[in-house]
């Protein structure tokens, strides 16, 4: 398989000009490639968000200072991860894509993303764009109205634009696209609007659709047995709103899928594959090679989209190629990523809907809370529907074998409605009444923490009392973990203790994805600031934190 991958790499590398960003560079990003570049969502196809850079470390971080900041003129919120190539930093939000000099912040070009304001009606939970993809001299970006575009990386000029789906039917896109094995892929969102989830593959050169793999099984597929024998699968949810990871040796791309549609599972009895699952697909065809379902018969709004992080760790004395995933449902999973076999699953926050995940069957053992809920009673559910962790990605330090993640601890009051929801295109399709239980005084909203992926045991946890964190994490070989807070602080924590070693208050809330890279041997850290992008991330902040997007870049103060 390795030979095949490298043959393909050679083929693609040979077919393009030397100045363009290549398939080989994508394979080496976060994997021994130049630290001058950040080319993939997740800082590597594995999405470990780990950097070997050490210039900024536990000792030097006190000299970390902002070197530039630029406005992104956006009040919707910033969740994106910038990419860096050849000294140019590319960043996106729902309104525009910008390219700036990474060392100075000087703007090179800006391309607006125009969409009908009414599109916001079909975006459930905050208007967002989590980033872009780079490949062969092109910047790829999806827009809220479910189009995908290729821009010239040098000028920002639009090269092609392809409609992915019809927003009036509830489809939109908030995730970054990705290029794997020469295919440009995008997910979509709309799980609250009775959509049929899918991942689609495109020719990066022309924008022509190559394949579309639906994430609810239909007639003629074996997995259709997990659906009622009607057309519920057509509105069954399973959207794909977080960018998939990729293992080039196995040639598998791993995508998570969202909640079922409608939220209430009553009109769709069965496990409903591939709702609330991870699917391993061939990027060339969209063929599903294996799947694992986090939450069978999902009715909690426990989307299973969060990042599927790939790592090689020792399990039971043997080094295994695994996939690590902290699900909204409150369990932290480790799977064998070649086969999909479950290796470990442990609660990482308070969980009351399931006692445990049965390692033999791979299925959750549901509790009395779940039985009452499914019977129509009003119950308190932990985690809240927003999950033990939401979209904000964790980081993994391969030297320490730990994951670093933000955790949420809240309780919902949740009931399936007696009246089943009626589907109307482009409107919410839910059938649930859900509110938030009062938090007890003195209880944290959640934590920033370092966990063992196999046991979920924390090395440390920092309680978050004022607000929870909705920021992604970045781990570095300098012994630091970077993250952010809704109140605007960008933080550097000691990876061994969680102690805040450094902080800087940016212009608005930090709920994005920090990156680090080098230019001429100097290490930089960049992060977007701008409260929002998710309505839940703004809870409780009204009047206390102002919105407004910007890019911030930091480096050690020169002598």
């Amino acid at each position: 398989m390795r030979k095949l991958v490298w043959s393909l790499v050679f083929f693609f590398a040979a077919s393009i000009t030397a100045s363009a960003q290549t398939a080989q560079e994508l394979l080496r990003d976060g994997n021994g490639g130049s630290t001058d570049n950040v080319l993939t969502y997740g800082m590597g196809y594995h999405q470990q968000r780990y950097s070997p850079l050490t210039q900024i470390n536990r000792k030097t971080v006190k000299r970390l200072v902002p070197v530039w900041s630029v406005s992104l003129a956006n009040e919707f919120g910033e969740q994106g991860q910038p990419l860096v190539y050849n000294g140019v930093l590319y960043a996106a939000n729902v309104k525009r894509v910008v390219a700036v000099e990474a060392a100075t912040g000087k703007q090179l070009w800006m391309t607006p993303l125009e969409w009908d304001a009414a599109v916001a009606r079909v975006v459930c939970c905050g208007l967002s764009n989590r980033g872009i993809a780079l490949y062969e001299g092109k910047v790829f970006v999806a827009s809220l109205d479910a189009f995908i575009r290729a821009l010239d990386a040098k000028t920002g000029k639009e090269l092609w634009k392809t409609k992915v789906a019809e927003w009036k039917d509830g489809y939109s896109i908030t995730s970054a696209p990705t290029v794997a094995n020469g295919v440009l892929m995008t997910g979509m969102t709309g799980g609250e609007y009775g959509v049929r989830g899918f991942v689609a593959g495109y020719d990066p050169e022309t924008g022509k659709e190559l394949w579309r793999r639906f994430m609810t099984a239909g007639p003629g597929e074996k997995a259709y047995e997990t659906w009622p024998k009607d057309d519920a699968y057509l509105r069954g949810g399973a959207s794909t709103w977080i960018t998939g990871s990729y293992d080039p040796e196995l040639d598998l791309t791993y995508w998570g899928t969202s909640n079922g549609g409608p939220w209430t599972a009553v009109p769709r009895p069965g496990d409903n594959l591939w709702v609330a699952s991870v699917v391993a697909m061939r990027p060339r065809t969209g063929e599903i090679v294996w799947h694992y379902q986090w939450t069978p018969a999902e009715t909690y709004d426990f989307d299973g989209n969060n990042e599927n992080l790939l790592a090689d760790i020792v399990v039971g004395g043997t080094k295994r190629k695994v996939l690590i995933h902290a699900d909204r449902n409150g369990f932290l999973y480790t799977l064998d990523r070649a086969s999909g076999k479950l290796l470990a699953a442990n609660p990482y926050v308070k969980v009351n809907w399931a006692e445990r995940i049965d390692l033999a069957t791979g299925r959750p053992v549901e509790t009395e809370v779940a039985r009452k809920l499914r019977a129509g009673e009003k119950v308190e559910v932990q985690p809240r529907w927003t999950g033990g962790k939401n979209w904000m990605p964790m980081a993994f330090n391969p030297k320490k074998g730990r994951i670093y993640l933000p955790m949420l601890e809240e309780t919902s009051v949740y009931q399936l409605n007696k009246d089943l929801p009626v589907y109307k295109a482009g409107e919410r399709y839910m059938g649930v009444t859900n509110t938030t239980a009062d938090r007890k005084p003195g209880e944290p909203w959640g934590y920033l923490g370092a966990l063992d992926p196999l046991t979920a045991k924390p090395a440390w946890r920092v309680p978050l009392m004022e607000f929870p964190s909705w920021s992604g994490m970045l781990s570095t070989a300098g012994g630091l973990v970077f993250s952010g807070l809704p109140t605007g602080e960008f933080l550097a924590l000691d990876e061994d203790t969680g102690k805040v070693l450094w902080q800087f208050r940016t212009g608005s809330g930090v709920n994005a994805q920090p990156i680090t890279y080098t230019i001429n041997g100097r290490q930089y850290v960049s992060v977007l600031s701008g409260l929002g992008g998710g309505t839940s991330s703004r809870r409780g902040t009204t009047g206390k934190v102002q919105p407004g997007g910007s890019v911030w870049t930091f480096a050690l103060m020169a002598d």
């Binding site: 919707f76 009414a118 939970c125 009444t433 859900n434 809870r539 009204t542």
Partner: protein, 110 residues
């Protein structure tokens, strides 16, 4: 709205206005069916941001305190959108937006 005392003061004024209008020019009257229709539309489309039953709002607007004398502003904002709120005029008929107004005015008041 700078200063720690301002929100409380503003709330006090809003309450006074509401009380005054309640006796002098109370909104409505609204039909029960109209309020029910408004509640249904609200729950499906508005609650995700403005909170279930107008509680636990995730945006800086508390609809329970919306001034009754500013119906035109309400109808315009819902129809055409405002700030981060999308325009709903393309989805709802004018009488449905009237129903949302009815629900916001009296639907959650005891």
């Amino acid at each position: 709205m700078a200063g720690s005392k301002a929100p409380g003061l503003a709330a006090g004024i809003a309450l006074a206005v509401l009380t005054a209008t309640a006796s002098a020019q109370a909104p409505g009257p609204f039909l029960k069916e109209q309020v029910k229709l408004g509640a249904d539309i609200y729950e499906r489309n508005c609650a995700p941001c403005h909170g279930p039953r107008m509680l636990d709002s995730q945006v800086p607007v508390d609809l329970r305190k919306f001034p009754p004398e500013q119906k035109d502003r309400f109808i315009t904002s819902v129809t055409k959108g405002k700030n981060q709120m999308p325009p709903w005029g393309g989805l709802f008929k004018p009488e449905e937006i009237e129903a949302i107004w009815a629900y916001v005015m009296v639907g959650e008041k005891q």
